[in-house]
């Protein structure tokens, strides 16, 4: 099948490419754009490791064709850190609260939590757990992921942060 021309804004940069219609967005990001932060976990719309932000929505990029993202604004984990290179509050929260062990789910978790906090800046624990229900973690039992998101919510709301024990 003929390749199609697509243009998207990925982490602030305009990117133009030719893609086969059947190319999934996750493959386009990882293999064409070399953004290997979003992971392929289950490849069946369950695990959320491939989660990216597309036009203000958290989406599983294994379940979107790259051609559908023509004209879209996309953020991956690579676009989360602050422009000066310091960590985003969520990245800092995951580090401070030990929100990861193997780290495989973390890029999807952080990008999903980013959208959740945009919609609900001060979520309850239940709202956090319901909000990240599309992201599976097989290591942590979620306790410290919830704490990491709470840390980020507090920091983003301007609360003075206490240093966690390292």
């Amino acid at each position: 099948m003929a390749k199609m021309h697509v243009k998207m804004n990925v982490n602030g940069a305009e990117v133009e490419s030719l893609v086969e219609p059947r190319t999934l967005l996750i493959h386009h990001l990882r293999e064409t754009l070399n953004l290997t932060g979003p992971h392929i976990g289950c490849d069946t719309t369950h695990c959320g490791a491939c989660t990216i932000d597309m036009d203000g929505k958290s989406v599983k990029s294994c379940t979107v064709f790259a051609v559908q993202a023509d004209g879209a604004m996309i953020t991956t984990i690579e676009g989360m850190a602050n422009p000066d290179g310091t960590l985003h509050a969520l990245q800092e929260g995951f580090r401070m609260m030990h929100g990861l062990q193997c780290g495989f789910c973390t890029p999807g978790m952080i990008v999903r939590a980013h959208r959740l906090l945009k919609e609900i800046p001060n979520p309850t624990e239940d709202e956090i757990r319901f909000g990240i229900a599309g992201n599976l973690c097989r290591c942590t039992g979620y306790q410290n992921i919830v704490k990491a998101i709470q840390y980020a919510a507090a920091k983003l709301s301007g609360a003075p942060m206490q240093e966690a024990a390292e």
Binding site: P21, K57, S58, Q68, G134
Partner: protein, 290 residues
């Protein structure tokens, strides 16, 4: 296990007319891509391999939620996430949000559409039963012009609906239930993201605390969503007293024929199907005013 879809030609029409023309041109070789959260996984497993994919995501006419007199009109490409955020929809028929929040997971609800959910014909989808409870009508457009089909007449079997080749669902028209109506959608599932082991929706009205009108519909308990007409009829004039309630649950179980699968045996799913009907009825009655 392949997870790369077979090749296809991709079309992104800007209007309903352009979409129906494409569907008419390619006939059986074309599939409509809505949110893609069911179709794309099927294509990855090669359970579907359309030669032409008509993405209706850029058609503005298919979007939006409007109150038009006594009806709520929801564009087919409205996502579950947009539906949940719509005060217009929730004020008119709160069962929509309640059921929508039980579908899949947050990411799937950002992409998944109401139209895709009701038109796919998967008995595991939740919105068909909700639309049957609400007595919704589906607006359909094809090369021959527009027509309307009631949700209660739409479902024929697994992936078999009244939608003909070349036709597209454009909107869902819901008669707004009376103020003070009771409603509930109960879904038993193994985990978030799963289809129902058993689910039931109820919309009812009361007079003097007794049920005046009642609709019960079932999800994933037969080869299609089904309306439990006999069960609902048993309950008119009651306040769910024991003998009437038991008769209604028995009547609902009589029309259940769930497949034995990883979610349970036919017997188990029928048993919990009755429990979902009972819980939905009790919660709907408790919410009803009148």
């Amino acid at each position: 296990m392949s997870v790369i879809p077979a090749p296809f030609s991709y079309h992104r029409p800007k209007s309903i007319a352009e979409a129906t023309a494409l569907l008419a041109e390619h006939n059986d070789e074309a599939r409509i891509l809505a949110g893609g959260q069911s179709l794309i996984p099927m294509m990855k497993f090669r359970l579907a391999a359309p030669e032409h994919l008509v993405d209706v995501g850029a058609i503005a006419e298919l979007k939006g939620i409007q109150r038009v007199g006594d009806a709520l009109v929801i564009g087919a490409m409205t996502t579950q996430h947009e539906l949940q955020l719509s005060k217009t929809a929730t004020d008119a028929a709160p069962i929509l949000k309640e059921a929508s929040l039980l579908i899949a997971d947050p990411q799937v609800r950002y992409m998944g559409t109401l139209g895709g959910n009701v038109a796919n014909g998967d008995p595991g989808n939740d919105m068909p039963a909700v639309m049957m409870c609400l007595d919704a009508a589906y607006r359909i457009m094809g090369a021959a012009g527009p027509r309307t089909v009631k949700a209660r007449d739409f479902y024929e079997g697994t992936y078999a609906t009244a939608l003909a080749t070349g036709e597209i669902l454009t909107a869902i028209e819901i008669p707004v239930p009376p103020a003070g109506h009771g409603y509930a959608y109960e879904k038993l599932k193994r985990k978030i993201g799963d289809y129902a082991t058993a689910a039931a929706g109820v919309v009812l009205t009361t007079r003097g605390g007794r049920i005046a009108t009642c609709a019960i519909a079932l999800s994933n308990l037969a080869d299609k969503a089904v309306l439990a007409t006999d069960a609902a009829a048993t309950l008119i004039g009651t306040a769910l007293e024991k003998p009437a309630l038991d008769k209604a649950i028995a009547a609902a179980r009589a029309i259940m024929s769930p497949a034995a699968d990883t979610r349970g045996t036919t017997e188990y799913r029928t048993a919990v199907g009755g429990v979902m009907v009972e819980r939905a009825l009790r919660r709907a009655l408790a919410r009803a005013k009148g």
